[in-house]
Symmetry: C2
Subunit: 381 residues, 2 copies
């Protein structure tokens, strides 16, 4: 048989990081490698109550085909949540997706022509890199400091790349660095997007999980021309297994997203949508999120304290105010792949930072996750 794959098949490969994660799944390993939320925080019992209520009250309707746009009460709950963080929206602006990964993928599908430029933080989220690369995008990376993307650098890149389709940003407790984009930079990013006529894709899965510092409005809050596409998820505030994310954007965009989602999977799991909506009806999601924040705060504190105590002094690391990750920069010349191998010999796992640079060969960085291990194990590790 001759090779049958489409040309785009060469653009994807199974993520290296996922392969690493397989190695680190052995039970004796203390893993700071994954990005898994803490399972002890999943509200299993209350979710069960919500699920039984859905099946008792709505019966077969909760198991039938649904609309592509999503279950209306869930879209209403999300629209309400969006208002709470400073984004005006109606349900017409909200599309339910099968996890925020689908939102990212559909964004690539809807907007990226072969060779289009995407401007992103350096480093950035690996699965977004892979999704956008599968549409043959080019990446232009903008250097970060402790306050997120350096905005003067962003302006230079916009100037040098008139074929830019959108800026991809994770403003809050970014994956992988844990860094947050400061307020003035958010405003300035919108001004630049307007000036250079580019879109902004704001991927904000960790927004609700702030455990220190002052709350900041999302970039979309400052959006004056409906050019920000806001993406988020229930994975970090409820459970990731149900695969529920959403897009909040201008109606003219949502309409096209719906057409693509229809070809992609018709609609998102009806039962998962109704369980989540029912949970938010019966219980106070914001109270649940408070618990998550309290736990992550102690985990993050313990990890920072351990870094301070046990790590060599000639490295720097981010001090996140929320989210799941700390980013470690080692002295130049040190290869984090080597560190990974050495750590694993002692049954401790982390993720080398290299794959998070879309074009990159920067080898002296590590991502540490603190959400998925007990505090004792964090200190021991």
């Amino acid at each position: 048989m001759k090779n049958k794959f489409a040309e785009r098949a060469r653009l994807v490969k199974s993520s290296e990081t996922r392969e690493i994660l397989k190695v680190t799944e052995r039970p004796e390993v203390i893993s700071f490698a994954g990005g898994l939320p803490a399972p002890e925080l999943f509200p299993v019992e209350n979710l069960k109550i919500a699920c039984n209520a859905v099946l008792d009250e709505e019966g077969a309707a909760s198991l039938q085909y649904g609309t592509t746009e999503g279950y209306i009460p869930l879209r209403e709950a999300i629209s309400h949540r969006m208002k709470g963080i400073g984004i005006n929206s109606t349900i017409e602006n909200v599309l339910i997706t099968s996890g925020s990964q689908q939102a990212i993928d559909l964004t690539g599908r809807l907007f990226i022509n072969e060779g289009d430029t995407i401007i992103c933080e350096s480093p950035t989220y690996l699965a977004a890199i892979n999704a956008f690369k599968s549409y043959d995008a080019k990446f232009v990376e903008v250097v970060m400091d402790d306050d997120g993307m350096v905005i003067e650098e962003l302006e230079k890149k916009l100037n040098n790349h008139p074929d830019t389709k959108f800026i991809y940003t994770i403003p809050d407790f970014q994956n992988p660095t844990g860094r947050t984009l400061k307020l003035e930079r958010r405003k300035r990013m919108i001004e630049l997007a307007n000036q250079y006529d580019v879109l902004i894709v704001e991927d904000n899965p960790y927004e609700a999980v702030r455990f220190a510092g002052e709350e900041l409005p999302p970039v979309k809050h400052f959006d004056t021309e409906n050019r920000v596409i806001y993406i988020s998820t229930f994975s970090k505030i409820f459970t990731p297994g149900l695969r529920l994310g959403w897009i909040c954007a201008d109606e003219s965009f949502i309409e096209k997203y719906v057409a693509f989602k229809q070809t992609a999977d018709l609609h998102t799991d009806s039962l998962a949508q109704r369980i989540t909506a029912k949970y938010m009806e019966i219980y106070d999601m914001e109270e649940h999120i408070k618990k998550i924040k309290a736990v992550y705060k102690t985990k993050c504190t313990d990890m920072m304290r351990s870094i301070e105590e046990f790590f060599p002094k000639n490295l720097s690391y981010s001090k996140p105010e929320g989210g799941l990750f700390i980013w470690v920069e080692l002295p130049e010349g040190i290869d984090s792949a080597h560190i990974f191998t050495e750590c694993l010999k002692n049954n401790v796992a982390c993720v080398p930072g290299t794959p998070f640079f879309p074009n990159g060969t920067q080898k002296n960085t590590l991502r540490l996750n603190y959400s998925n291990m007990s505090n004792e194990k964090i200190i021991e590790g």
Copy 2:
């Protein structure tokens, strides 16, 4: 703002049929328009028991991120089911997808280059047409008779279109016609695929729902060179709302599918997968399917009897041995869109056949669905 959409955005639009379905959702309408399974057959109570067992026994693990390939016990159950219908496979050949629609879409993504030819039955499944069109495929239609795709015509088309990437076929109780590909044609289709070096995409969602006639092995049963990609779903035998489908294919294909699925949505809903696996562990799925067949048989019989009794004699219709649909061919010159409008005035809905022809303008056909209305309403309608 300048237009930001990618060029491929012009290739998709929200399905016309879905728009029709919206019109027909008024409660007073007797609808033969949709393709919805009978909700009274969803095993709501047993599914609830399975769901509670999953949450009690597996707890947080059932709500955590999972692997892209899918939940192993579910892949095992599917692999077992595949063996039962004559397809040798291991779990390495099985990928869980978010409904069979995702399997269809990923197939387009993995195999179709711009302008590639797909050979399909004329007419064929609308959502597959839309998915493949979104990858800029060209369609070559092969005429059908009561025994499915006319195989001599298939050979001619293969001969005339050396750029054919795959044959897309729905061999059992096809959507929209309800027709079944006869045994000799299945064998011959494999021979031709081998001879012309093309793939076969066998979309077989209705396979298990045969209520009359003799069981036939799937096309993949005769596959000698691992060139058949078999796609199916739990939508017609369990519930569609959970969005669970699968691909059964050669490992070298599955590996690439996994990479694309990873960028598309990471993985399919963990809870839905575990509920379905648990249901199949506790209950006898084959017994449940027997109930579905018995009910659809009476619905189909009632509809055929009503067509015989009330319809004009100058039309022909298919006599399905399973599945959900009857196909009506009106005399030439009659526009089924007109019939649709007239029926709707009397609160009866059906789907005009035109959109099921990928290139087509054939206007004198109708699709009637009998699975989603009570027997009384079928006769009244």
